[in-house]
Symmetry: C2
DNA sequence: CAGGATGTCTAGCGTTGCTAGGATGTGGCC
DNA sequence: GGCCACATCCTAGCAACGCTAGACATCCTG
């Protein structure tokens, strides 16, 4: 009896993840406006209502995709930072990794940082992977810098601005490197 | 004959603007998701198809609202900048004015800088009011600074990041002043 | 005063997110 | 083993969306 129940819950969890990855793939391939509950249901080979037995609505699916993304971004940032022992280079690499992530996975990035969400960032209930992302930026500044959290927050905001304005075509991509160099230079030599 | 035609065109232009302001008011009051063609038509006291005789679709209405906003933002920034003769204070005031604009008119800001658009920013066909906004930031740096355009672009991006992350509740509003002070400090003393 | 152009509305199409209610099939109990 | 109860899943449909076709009315022109 309990074995069967366990198997069912396992299958259910698998399907749960299947929905998330299907939504993400569809969004990455054709953008979020193409992710309709019908198309998503067709893709996971179930009918629409099963989506609602896993998630309260479409927004919840987007949120689930976003949380997946936080983990990946944290790993990306960590790899970039640790590959450079020197702080300035580490910050530069992390920033570049961030912008690359945003341009290579635009739909995922949108779900994480643009679409309406109820995830609080600097908060007790912040999802650990998201907190890990933030900490990667904090780690690019000296430990004795009392304001390093503020530094991290502002540089993250700046990167976010650059990423979104680029993604929507509002600023050109061709001088992205210059922007990046300039940004890092301004922030790395700040008084603590 | 020509008089009648003129009157009609005048009335038509008035109604055109009426649609734009109605869309903006509705968006400011209840957010863009509440701006449906039906509600908008009801508000201007015409039927839906009239909207389509003025605009190619809902997107075009949003664009029209956005362009209205560029003019207002430029005026805001200009006022803030000119009220402070000293460059550092001028930049600080302009940045604050920008963030205030974004928080006080969130829906308008969204139409201008978040929603999909075909407006190019640094381009020959950039609408003059938008170019004027950019020039206000450029004017906060010394004329002999060869990279002032880059400075302006990056600081604008940073402000945009702060504004959008704040608006979506991703970063808390309570330390906005600290962020602003820090940002201005980092950018004003940059080597040209 | 008739004819044609212009302007506006009613009605409806296809699609969206979401849900109610019935059919199907499996698991546990006597 | 037979039956009931429960869980699972799907068909069908609702209200609202952006948008459009075609009928109706209104006004200027000759």
């Amino acid at each position: 009896m309990s074995v069967i129940k366990a198997r069912r819950e396992r299958e259910r969890a698998q399907r749960h993840q299947l929905i998330i990855t299907a939504a993400r793939e569809l969004a990455e391939a054709e953008g979020w406006e193409a992710v309709t509950t019908r198309r998503l249901a067709e893709r996971v080979e179930y009918s629409q209502p099963v989506l609602y037995s896993h998630f309260s609505g479409k927004d919840a699916i987007v949120r689930a995709v976003a949380i997946d993304g936080f983990g990946e971004l944290a790993a990306h940032l960590r790899r970039a930072r640790l590959a450079n022992p020197e702080l300035r280079q580490a910050l530069h690499a992390a920033c570049r990794a961030y912008l690359d992530f945003a341009t290579e996975r635009p739909a995922l990035y949108q779900a994480m940082f643009v679409m309406p969400t109820d995830v609080k960032f600097a908060h007790a209930e912040t999802p650990p992977p998201l907190r890990a992302c933030f900490d990667e930026f904090v780690g690019c500044f000296r430990p004795d810098n009392a304001r390093r959290e503020l530094f991290a927050e502002v540089i993250w905001s700046a990167l976010h601005g650059i990423a979104t304005l680029s993604a929507s075509g509002r600023i050109p991509l061709d001088i992205q490197d210059e922007r990046l160099d300039f940004l890092v230079t301004q922030f790395i030599d700040a008084p603590s």
